[in-house]
Symmetry: C2
């Protein structure tokens, strides 16, 4: 496993319409795409800083992971995503190191990346996504 | 103001000794430096992914910003930092846009960057640091 960099920061929002203007109009970060990721139960608005993206995450339902996060903690930073060279070798290495994953198999995330999530229990309270670009 | 990229993600930790091994030994992200930033009341362990850094933040006292965060929310992602070309023009633009800053003047952060923090009230619950490399 080789970490290639910070791919994005995921931010849970109550409303894309209310939250996007800060990133788009105040900070003037380039908007890349808006995408529904059914597997994660979110609509995501993706901004590209040029070196790492900001993904605003709006829950499709209250019982989705982001919906539960919003109910418990309110809007704010939900996870960080690190790009890896090879997601399957990353999973093997993490499991060998005793790291707890949310799911043991990669799923397809936003922009078609293959992704896996490290449980916050294994990462000092941080939800860490690892993503391989295909 | 031009955003140049994600400079780092700041993560509040109870103990650098307990939290650093995940980033250093499991993810094998290169350790760059350990620095005390008196102005922010933290000791920070800085890891460089090659594209954006991870800064683990240990509070110097319970009444420091990170100490208060840990007491309220526990360990986890504390802030994101975006690199800007010019911190002073950023401050002027943000104030003109009605954005609330934690302090209106830049201070010297880790690695000598000039930094300012946008209040989470103005950024959808996210503490956003802007930093100019000198």
């Amino acid at each position: 496993m080789k970490i290639l960099g910070i791919e994005h920061i995921g931010i849970a929002v109550e409303s894309l319409d209310k939250s996007a203007p800060f990133w788009r109009e105040v900070l003037k970060i380039s908007h890349r795409t808006t995408e529904t990721v059914e597997s994660e139960g979110v609509v995501t608005d993706i901004f590209d800083t040029g070196s790492g993206k900001v993904e605003l995450l709006s829950a499709l339902s209250e019982d989705s992971p982001v919906g539960k996060f919003l109910a418990k903690r309110g809007p704010g930073i939900h996870h960080i995503c690190l790009q890896v060279d090879d997601i399957r070798s990353a999973i093997v290495e993490l499991k060998a190191a005793g790291v707890e994953l949310v799911k043991d198999e990669p799923s397809v995330g936003a922009e078609g990346y293959l992704v896996v999530f490290v449980h916050p229990r294994s990462a000092g309270g941080v939800l860490v996504e690892l993503a391989e670009r295909r």
